[in-house]
Amino acid sequence: MAPASERDHAVTAHFVEKEDGTCALLASACPICHTTFFPAQAGCSNCGSFGAMQQRWLGETGCLIEATVCHMAPTGYTAPYILGLVRVEENVEFFSIIDTPIDSYESAVGQQVRLRVRPVGHEPNGAPIVGWIYEPSS
């Protein structure tokens, strides 16, 4: 295993919208035990290795496992909005804003969703917060 260098740990965004419009989340994959981590990790909490972790871009497609309507919003966001638990692959699950109508969101649960990059809120100075969201694929 190689010792870590400062360059390896430069902060990168967790997501990207490419020039062709496709979006991806930046995960890491352990080449020794083949576990994928999102958000990316520098060390493998599964097998204990470090210095070998590789970048891996996750595909756009996920499955919406469950969702809830948030009727109160943190600073910078507007209620109501939907938060959902998205599964991209086995053991890669995380929370995301779900962009789908509030009054019919339950029908999206259990369905395929697609990653997008959008403005999701505002900083205190009014600048937009850009983040990832998922929307129903169909």
């Binding site: 902060v11 909490s45 469950e66 809830t68 943190p74 929370f95």
Partner: protein
């Protein structure tokens, strides 16, 4: 290795105290704990002070323990600052237990203190939100209560529990809080009032969620040597003190592992428990935690709960203090307050909320923060008289 005992307990009531800061809240709890133990400030060998948001909400970012204890009259001793979000108080307790077991200290003071109500609710909400990975979660709209809401929904869909069932747990804890002179909420609420309170994150209504509070809780822990000098009669023994962090990526939960470790260390089974104080940040969390504690089989906790088995008069009282819902949740004080409730019940000192059958063994379950898919910190304590 010496045994460790809780020899004294003290609380500042939980609630809204605009004229009191961290120092004043903590001093009341500390002096009450010393008085209860029958010792003075000079008898304390070491102190552990838990606080999470003192920096963001009061400006005291560093050396909070020393600042708070100086006001209470404690100088010169080793003072350790502890931060583990909502599990800070029980983490501080575990650190003190470890120190006494190692023979480093015979008399330890543990304090959990939090000042959350600073007349700026969004500021408090932003502070609480820092108990998760702030860099990763920026731009995700994440809020803690959504994780409880989604867990509740999955439980309801899997097993048939309803919003009214969540409301019944809420009503129980509010009812219990009315019997607790230190609780934030001293007014009962009906199931109807609970389901009519505003929705926070579907299916969780406002009353089903624990609230921000000010408050402080303190205990005095002692070794074998000192408990004999003070008298064993009112002391409660620590059978198990466990801490772990979550399984962050896998999200399977480290809970089952820590629960087994706790029962093993204490040499008890779930059926030995006379009461449980657990982390009802949302009332629905009681079900999954009771199932993780192997008190009820998977999917059945809500049924047993609805039958009254977790009431003060029930087979296995859960949150007789009112829990986070009824007692309020000044985050770093909660873990210590849970332990204090167990001690108080084991001593038979709980007044109107005293359990009809005097318990011999009690368990506390306290969690804090979130990293990716699991709790940042989980503690389990088992105590016995």
């Amino acid at each position: 290795m010496t045994d460790v005992y809780v020899a004294g307990v003290g609380l500042h009531p939980f609630g809204r105290y605009p004229n009191l800061g961290l120092k004043q809240l903590a001093a009341v709890a500390i002096h009450r704990a010393l008085q209860d133990a029958g010792i003075g400030l000079k008898d304390v060998h070491g102190a552990w002070v838990a606080n999470a948001y003192g920096g963001l909400l009061t400006g005291q970012e560093s050396v909070r323990g020393q600042v708070v204890l100086a006001y209470a009259g404690l100088h010169g001793i080793p003072i350790t600052n502890v931060e583990n979000a909502c599990a800070g108080g029980s983490t501080a307790f575990k650190a003190a237990v470890t120190s006494i077991r190692a023979g480093e200290c015979d008399v330890a003071l543990v304090v959990g203190v939090e000042k959350m109500l600073v007349s700026d609710t969004p500021k408090t909400i932003r502070a609480v939100a820092t108990s998760a990975d702030t860099e990763f979660l920026h731009g995700t709209g994440f809020q803690f209560i959504a994780t409880y809401a989604i867990k509740a929904k999955r439980y309801m869909k899997s097993y048939g529990a309803t919003a009214e069932d969540i409301a019944r747990v809420t009503a129980k804890n509010r009812r219990n809080g009315c019997l607790n002179p230190y609780a934030h909420y001293r007014k009962q609420v009906t199931v109807e009032e609970i389901v009519q309170s505003r929705l926070v994150c579907d299916p969780l209504h406002l009353f089903m969620c624990s609230s921000n509070s000010d408050g402080a809780a303190a205990v005095i822990l002692v070794s074998d040597r000192v408990v004999d000098r003070l008298g064993r009669g009112r002391s409660v023994k620590v059978l198990s003190s466990r801490l772990c962090s979550g399984e962050f990526h896998l999200g399977n939960g480290a809970v089952e592992r820590i629960v087994m470790e706790a029962y093993d260390e204490a040499g008890v089974e779930p059926t030995d428990l006379g009461l449980i104080e657990l982390h009802d940040a949302a009332a629905s969390a009681e079900w999954e935690l009771l199932e993780s504690l192997r008190v009820f089989p998977p999917g059945e906790a809500y049924i047993h709960s609805s039958r009254g088995e977790t009431e003060i008069q029930g087979r296995i009282p859960v949150n007789p203090s009112g829990g986070l819902i009824g007692r309020g949740h000044p985050v770093s004080a909660t873990g210590v307050a849970q332990i204090i409730e167990v001690v108080t019940q084991l001593r038979g000192n709980a007044g109107d909320r005293g359990l009809p059958k005097m318990p011999k063994v009690g368990l506390t379950f306290n969690t804090g923060g979130r990293v990716i898919n699991d709790k940042a910190a989980i503690t389990v304590h088992i105590l016995a008289r």
